[in-house]
């Protein structure tokens, strides 16, 4: 375990220098001659029927090649959520529809010679709307008599569209009512989280063209190239084999690019015109028409015994999926499945979720995926239980968290929109995380002590989390590895690096397995013509699932190399062979041969064959990474401004394959979480229009907003993951809301039930307390 040569060692991200020197790596860096530019017309109404649409003037506008509406495009119901097949999400979306369901729904698109012409032509489209009553609040939406958002007869897979219920979940373990009766203390609270957006700095962008043989190529900023291929084929009614999807470098995704929203339009224009077509979202479109984070209302009830053992937990979540179902069901599933097993000492558990359609922007996958919203409530309620018991909240967590060797019935009861898979925890450093994190922040010195300086009051808070590593028995990745004359290898795999560094992890796994340097692995990824399948980058699956596939392929190639070496050495057994420094060495005889020699020999000379293998990985396990977060804040009683001073993230992600990349994932996620806790929020007009779709009014953090950040890694070895690794991408976005919420309580004895924790909300809570 400890004598790794590459795993856990400093390895430069393989694409970093190309990116740092501005090579043309992104979708929009490829500029093809004769490319048509596409612009979209959006509904100004939250709920309306298009009674009439007249595009004749627009069609006549100079440079206009095509105007697309529901009248002249395929009308095939599908889901835009890029998930495995059959999708857990409802089929409730058309490329274009007659009915508008939110401000930002697509009315029409224009393809023209220039962007300006396309934009001008949009203004000439005449639309007659019949405006319908709209509903924006999730509670109102599921009440009797609310306007029905999805009344299309073709809809499938939605739970009860007549009641605006996209999905519904109910699971029970034990008897939760009896559990509360038997408890000595009970806490019941409701917390609400807000609409937010991923805001990758590169927005959604797609370029489509026909290759020399007339096949459609989709070069797109996506997390799910293989799902793009399948869903575009479905939405346009064309065969999968006619489509090639290419994923170049991606400028961040965080979930919003796990969605097929531009590709089908672009593809359709290219197929009809035989010309390249480009569709690039503006920042405003990214806010109003890409995907968002589901706002949740979470009702949490916890019962505990005097000895500090949790006895019963009930979670009810009402999430707002906006106008379309997208990831609604699975995000809500994760609100239970990625949180409740953490407290497996509670014998009585109930999880009920309603997922409501409303006439607001569409929610989708967003880093944390439901767990973020659920932890915002659960981890504050845990602190409240501790207070009622007169116990240190750290101690309460310590007594109740899941441990190695243990399981939770929730794993089986609640999967991704269906039954899950039983999991036993095999690696868990929670005790170490609690201890080291507490020490770093000075928990025992500071928690519960009043500290102030004029109007500035100080507090500290904590939270505890788990997530998963891919979706068990659903997520599959595959990789092909082949050997070249100089002992280098081509790795062709479906794993989808969206900026995380997955390609580097993959190169490290190959290098470790074959005794070479990561630079000797030429990685080519996520091209549906060139690489094997992979579900894509989501559910924290990259290292575990795609990396697992790479390891399998590398082990097979290793066996093939050893077979050749055996013959060369004239030895019978490969068990004494090692691969090191680009050579196979027999420890028994001392003989050695370079990989290059083996490659030359097998490619050109004797027993000729290509040393190559494909590995596929799908796992019954989804080992959870664990994290404990601590934050110290300063809050100004006069202004209501909360300033995080120091943030500690203590994380167990198994064996960190690349420590720099791991650190980047942890800090990137928690800084996004910090601004979700403090500033990021959609503001809507009362007709459902987002009022702040730009970075001036929707504030994401910059260098000057970050506190001192300390990352602590507690290394474990996860036997089910490649070289002991678990995931790390999502988990650390879950901490800031509850940790800051708890710190706020520590400072001022106030609790905000709605995030973000803006100065206005803080001041109001202070006022209400008095």
């Amino acid at each position: 375990m400890s004598d790794f040569k590459v795993i856990g060692k400093k390895t430069d991200k393989i694409d970093a220098m190309a990116l740092a020197t501005g090579q043309p790596l992104f979708v929009d860096d490829l500029q093809l001659p004769d490319t048509l530019q596409i612009k979209i017309l959006y509904s100004p109404y939250a709920h309306a029927i298009i009674e009439d649409i007249d595009t004749s003037e627009a069609e006549k506008y100079p440079g206009v090649k095509m105007v697309l509406t529901y009248k002249n495009t395929p009308h095939i119901i599908h889901t835009t959520a890029g998930q495995g097949w059959p999708e857990p999400s409802p089929y409730d979306t058309y490329m274009f529809d007659k009915k508008m369901r939110f401000v930002g729904d697509r009315v029409a698109a224009v393809a023209a010679e220039t962007e300006e012409q396309a934009a001008e032509a949009l203004k000439l489209i005449k639309v007659k709307y019949k405006v319908l009553p709209a509903v924006f609040d999730s509670e109102e939406a599921i009440k009797e008599g609310a306007p029905v958002i999805h009344d299309e007869p073709e809809i499938t897979g939605a739970y009860d569209p007549k009641r605006n219920l996209a999905a519904h979940i109910e699971i029970r373990v034990g008897d939760v009512e009896k559990g509360f009766e038997e408890s000595d203390v009970v806490v019941e609270e409701t917390f609400e989280t807000q609409y937010a957006q991923h805001t990758p700095i590169e927005p959604h962008v797609t370029l489509t063209y026909l290759d020399e043989y007339g096949r459609l190529v989709i070069r797109t900023s996506t997390q799910v190239p293989f799902h793009v291929r399948r869903i575009v084929a479905q939405a346009l009614g064309i065969p999968v084999q006619k489509i090639r999807v290419v994923k170049p470098r991606i400028g961040g995704g965080f979930g919003t690019k796990q969605e097929i929203i531009l590709e089908e339009i672009c593809s359709y224009v290219t197929l009809k015109t035989k010309r390249p077509a480009r569709l690039l979202y503006t920042r405003e479109e990214e806010f109003i028409s890409a995907r968002t984070r589901h706002p949740f209302k979470v009702k949490v009830k916890i019962g505990a015994k005097k000895d500090g053992m949790l006895h019963a937990i009930r979670l009810y979540t009402l999430s707002n999926t906006g106008a379309y179902g997208s990831h609604g069901l699975t995000v809500a599933s994760n609100a239970g499945s990625k949180t409740l097993p953490l407290y497996n000492k509670a014998e009585n558990v109930e999880f009920v979720a309603d997922i409501a359609y409303t006439n607001l922007p569409v929610a989708g996958a967003y880093r944390g995926y439901g767990a973020t919203q659920s932890y915002a409530a659960l981890e504050q309620a845990i602190d409240m239980v501790a207070e009622k018991l007169g116990m240190d909240p750290l101690e309460l967590r310590k007594r109740n968290h899941i441990r190695a060797g243990e399981t939770s019935p929730i794993f089986k009861a609640l999967g991704e929109g269906r039954e899950g898979v039983t999991q036993y925890i095999q690696s868990c450093a929670l005790d170490e995380l609690l201890e080291k994190g507490a020490k770093e922040i000075g928990w025992f010195k500071k928690h519960g002590k009043e500290r102030r300086n004029g109007s500035k009051v100080y507090g500290i808070g904590m939270s505890m989390h788990m997530q998963g590593s891919g979706i068990p028995l659903i997520d599959m990745g595959a990789a092909t590895l082949k050997m070249n004359e100089d002992g280098s290898f081509n790795l062709l795999y479906g794993g989808t690096d969206i900026g995380t560094g997955l390609d580097t992890i993959a190169a490290q796994i190959v290098a470790e397995t074959l005794g070479i340097k990561p630079e000797q692995v030429i990685v080519y990824a996520s091209d549906t013509d060139m690489t094997p399948f992979d579900v894509g980058a989501y559910a924290s699956s990259g290292t575990f699932v795609s990396g697992g596939a790479v390891l399998k392929a590398a082990l097979k190639v290793r066996d093939q190399i050893l077979e050749v070496a055996k013959e060369k050495f004239g030895e019978f057994d490969t068990k004494d062979f090692i691969l090191e420094d680009g050579k196979v060495i027999s420890l028994k005889s001392g003989k050695n041969i370079t990989l290059s020699e083996i490659a030359y020999d097998t490619l050109y000379v004797r027993n000729q064959h290509q040393i190559a293998a494909t590995g596929s990985f799908v796992s019954p396990y989804s080992p959870p990474p664990f994290a404990v977060h601590f934050v110290e804040i300063e809050v100004d009683e006069e202004t209501g401004v909360i300033k995080p001073i120091k943030y500690v993230a203590a994380v167990d992600c198994g064996k960190p394959i690349n420590p720099e990349l791991v650190k980047g994932q942890i800090i990137g996620a928690l800084v996004n979480g910090l601004s979700y806790a403090l500033t990021e929020e959609y503001i809507f007009s009362n007709s459902g229009r987002m009022l702040n779709p730009n970075f001036m009014d929707y504030k994401i953090p910059s260098t000057r907003d970050i506190p001192e950040i300390k990352v602590i890694l507690a290394e474990t070895y996860e036997p089910t993951g490649p070289y002991g690794a678990k995931s790390v991408a999502e988990i650390n976005i879950n901490g800031p809301i509850p940790a800051i919420g708890n710190a706020l309580y520590d400072a001022l004895k106030i609790r905000l039930h709605k995030s973000p924790y803006t100065p206005e909300r803080v001041l109001e809570a202070i006022k209400n307390k008095k």
């Binding site: 970093a16 220098m17 700095i201 400028g251 979202y281 503006t282 900026g499 928690l670 996004n672 260098t703």
Partner: protein
């Protein structure tokens, strides 16, 4: 109308429309190393140096900077001869998706030209306009500090 710039030391002449912003003109003419999308001066991805000073190229009319010297990320270092800042960003894990990286490095470059020994506050201030959604900035700040060290050790430009 026609404009002339000296881009990364090379004179270039372009045909432009009077209303066009610099970002669009440069990208259209092959300078795709400049990123950007907000067109409001709020993300910093489109940062270039104009006569050595960082500017968001999306908020500057191309016509207005006629005749000026423009530096893009390619002007400070290339794949086979990277600038210490580019090396430092790679070494410290400061490049995730890399979409913000050219802009951030150019802002840092301008800082180090003016102030070869910046404090952490100076670095934060210099990079304040370059939004990054991936890194959370910590490794970017470390990268600039590391570049300062490399530059002092004489790995000069």
């Amino acid at each position: 109308m026609k404009v002339k710039y000296i881009i990364n030391g090379k004179e270039e002449e372009y045909e432009i429309h009077p209303g066009e912003v610099l970002l669009d003109v440069l990208r259209r003419n092959g300078h795709t190393e400049i990123k950007g999308n907000c067109y409001l001066g709020t993300c910093g991805a489109c940062t270039v140096l104009i006569d050595g000073v960082p500017h968001t190229s999306c908020t500057i009319l191309a016509a207005k900077v006629n005749g000026k010297e423009i530096t893009t990320i390619k002007g400070i270092g290339e794949l086979d001869s990277p600038h210490p800042l580019q090396q430092a960003f790679v070494k410290t894990g400061a490049v995730q998706c890399g979409f913000c990286t050219p802009g951030a490095i150019l802002s840092a470059y301008a800082l180090l030209k003016k102030n070869p020994d910046p404090t952490e506050e100076d670095i934060k201030k210099a990079l304040d306009g370059n939004l990054c959604r991936c890194t959370g900035y910590v490794q970017q700040i470390e990268a600039v500090k590391f570049a300062v060290k490399l530059l002092k050790e004489g790995k000069n430009e």
